[in-house]
């Protein structure tokens, strides 16, 4: 009973708080049901908090350090790829340059190798040096099982053949709002840029 009363008081406080907010600012509440938080929590376990290594050989927790509260662009690749990766990474580098002007410091780029045995931090650093990669772009390696877990949880594998790495899938997300989508790594840079700005919540007047 006490818990129910407490719960009622909490709800009442929330309602009162909201009305006070309303009367003070007289703007409609944008998310009265806490939809964004619900989506965020719903998506939480899609991002295992495994420890990965950056191209600078620093340890990063995948969720806590790289995803949580961030706007992210996530790509899977490997350094020796002679298929799509040589085109997707420079494509993303152009997106990063554009976003560094339009939303400076707001977007984190993540490239995760699917070949962690060969792609050591040093190999990834070497790979990144071929492209105009700016701050805020992490090239990640780790244990094979951790990398596979991340990829599978993010739906980036083929139902027929889990070895097909889906280099074409670019995942874009706004973690705090639980808003996630996927598009093609090889889409035009300005298309990807605009999509990231939309996920970021930039009004369309500013990205049109």
């Amino acid at each position: 009973m006490k818990r129910r009363i407490a719960a009622f008081l909490l709800v009442a406080a929330a309602v009162l708080g909201a009305s006070a907010f309303l009367s003070a600012k007289s703007t409609p509440r944008k998310d009265p049901y806490g939809y964004f938080e619900y989506r965020r929590n719903a998506m939480r376990s899609s991002f295992p908090d495994v420890v990965l290594l950056t191209q600078d050989n620093k340890q990063k927790r995948f969720y806590d350090d790289l995803i949580k509260d961030k706007i992210v662009v996530i790509q899977f690749m490997f350094a020796n790829c002679d298929g799509l990766c040589p085109r997707t990474t420079p494509n993303l580098a152009r997106v990063q340059r554009e976003l560094s002007k339009r939303a400076p410091g707001k977007v984190t780029f993540i490239s995760i190798t699917v070949d962690p045995k060969r792609d050591t931090p040093q190999a990834l650093k070497q790979y990144a040096s071929h492209f105009d990669v700016q701050r805020g772009w992490y090239f990640l390696t780790g244990k094979q099982e951790d990398v596979d877990l991340v990829r599978r949880k993010m739906g980036v594998y083929d139902p027929e053949d889990q070895k097909v790495e889906h280099m074409n899938v670019l995942t874009i997300g706004n973690e705090a709002q639980g808003k996630w989508l996927a598009m093609e790594s090889l889409a035009k840079p300005d298309d990807i840029t605009r999509t990231v700005l939309r996920v970021l919540g930039v009004p369309k007047a500013e990205w049109q």
Partner: protein, 509 residues
């Protein structure tokens, strides 16, 4: 199949949150297929009555500041929607957050008439962008809702859509969200409704009317441990749920009389196909397809319906003696385990989508006329000025048309007004099904793998199912002086669409 299950297994969630004003606590998000039940154990069929969405009532344009006004003598009606969040009871005794046109799922039905223009204001009170597509409408480009990001309605703003309701023969359309990259979740949360376009000619037919003319919006859903809609945006193959809704209610019951009913069934699911039949095995009359009434009714005892497709059919309950135990079930016999496509029909495993309770004795004066629609346009292949080929394929996990990704700034086909074209739609392989939807106007299927269409597919269509290995030729004459500009065509497996299995085309003078 294992891989699918594995994927779903990975969807286990553990964390907490509050739906602030309701005190609802959300701690886990687990797709229930995780434990592989075919149906969510929380639901019991036939507990609730079938909701029939009310028709939207018109308002004075004076109540809509800034709405477009017309002096061209064409009668114009105005309607106004508030697209909003609400808590709905879908699972028994539980509250589920949904998004609805006017907060309703499905939204209120449009009642439109040929020759009368309709202007619909859509006020967005959701916390996300939306875009409203009139599926089946011959609509001006700016009002079509063609997934173009610059046309999105941002939170707190509105857009006025103009539906001319001309250059058409009438039909069973629908409206739903079409926001680029986000259509899957937006439709899943509830943004869909029915749009019925009728005419004096159609009304003059002696088909079942009024309470005997009932839309059935069929959708599958999944719910998390806190009774909230569970959608995984990382399932790019196609969403498959384990709770079945008709008009927003779980496997409802519907009280009917011993007469004829016109049912308009819409598959509003993201990726699930259905094979529809009656538990009695009795045949019914198929009278309409995506593009309106057929020339003549077709007797059938079952039909397949893919995402986005519509089929109208008349069921005669007069064979049954009304009584408390007289039940007829609307069954689905299509087995589908994953978004890739249906696994096949199994008549030994009928699943009841809803139940008809034949309780009332009625006087039924309706008929199914032997001739239904006499105004169906005929498209002549000899007049075709070009045959275009569009192949729907998969490339390293992403969806393409003709080896290209959708680019909202690139026009993939330019069509001249009032010309006839044949489009060849081809399945690029891999065992995937693609229900392809072309916006703006209907088409006649010329052939599927060289064979002429049968059943509801012989009528005018705007969704064409590409089964694995299929090649379909469709034809249309691109009339409609007002419908110039850019439109899209895409796979109506919405998860494929959100991964941009879509093309842009335009009509020019």
């Amino acid at each position: 199949m294992t891989t699918r299950r594995e994927l779903l297994k990975l969807g286990l969630y553990g964390s907490t949150a509050m739906l602030h004003l309701t005190g609802l606590k959300l701690d886990t998000w687990a797709l229930s297929e995780n434990k592989s039940p075919k149906v969510d154990p929380r639901v019991t069929p036939f507990q609730v009555d079938l909701p029939v969405p009310a028709f939207k009532t018109t308002v004075s344009p004076a109540t809509l500041p800034g709405v477009p006004l017309f002096n061209d003598g064409i009668p114009t009606d105005y309607v106004s929607f508030n697209v909003q969040q609400t808590l709905a009871q879908i699972l028994p005794g539980k509250k589920t957050l949904v998004w609805g046109y006017d907060g309703q799922v499905p939204g209120p039905s449009f009642q439109a008439r040929l020759g009368r223009r309709l202007v619909a204001r859509q006020q967005n009170s959701l916390p996300v962008n939306i875009n409203v597509h009139h599926h089946g409408g011959h609509t001006q480009a700016a009002s079509d809702g063609s997934a173009l990001p610059e046309e999105e309605i941002e939170p707190g703003t509105f857009r006025d859509y103009i539906y001319d309701n001309d250059d058409d023969t009438g039909g069973f359309h629908w409206y739903h969200d079409h926001t680029l990259d986000q259509t899957g979740i937006n439709v899943f949360m509830g943004l869909a409704g029915v749009y019925i376009l009728t005419s004096d000619t159609i009304d003059a037919l002696n088909l079942p009317k009024g309470a005997f003319d009932v839309p059935l919006v069929v959708q599958d859903r999944a719910f998390d441990a806190n009774n909230q809609l569970a959608y995984n945006p990382f399932d790019h193959n196609g969403f498959i749920g384990n709770v079945f809704l008709v008009n927003g209610a779980v496997q409802p019951k519907f009280r009917v009389g011993n007469g004829k009913y016109r049912f308009r069934i819409l598959n509003g699911s993201n990726a699930r196909f259905y094979q529809i039949s009656l538990s009695t095995g009795r045949p019914f009359q198929i009278i309409g397809s995506d593009g309106g009434l057929l020339k003549a009714p077709i007797e059938a005892d079952q039909f397949r319906i893919a995402p986005g497709e519509r089929v109208e059919f008349v069921v005669d309950f007069s064979f049954h003696t009304p009584g408390p135990n007289t039940h007829v079930f609307l069954n689905n016999t299509m087995i589908q385990k994953e978004g890739r496509g249906p696994d096949g029909v199994d008549p030994t495993q009928p699943f009841p989508l809803m139940r008809f309770d034949v309780l009332d004795t009625v006087t039924d004066i309706s008929t199914v006329p032997p001739v239904l629609e006499t105004n169906i346009p005929v498209f002549n292949p000899k007049e075709s000025v070009i045959t275009r080929t569009f192949e729907f394929n998969r490339s390293q996990g992403a969806w393409q048309v003709n080896g290209k990704f959708f680019d909202p700034t690139r026009v993939d086909a330019t069509v001249k007004l009032n010309t006839t074209e044949i489009w060849r739609l081809r399945n690029g392989g891999g065992g995937w099904y693609h229900p392809v939807h072309i916006h703006r106007n209907e088409f006649q299927i010329l052939d599927r793998n060289g064979i002429a269409p049968t059943g509801a597919e012989s009528g005018l269509k705007d969704v064409f199912v590409l089964n694995p290995g299929d090649e379909i030729r469709v034809i249309s004459k691109y009339t409609g002086e007002k419908q110039l500009g850019r439109y899209v065509f895409h796979c109506h497996n919405i998860e494929h669409e959100d991964m941009r299995m879509m093309g842009l085309w335009e009509v020019v003078k």
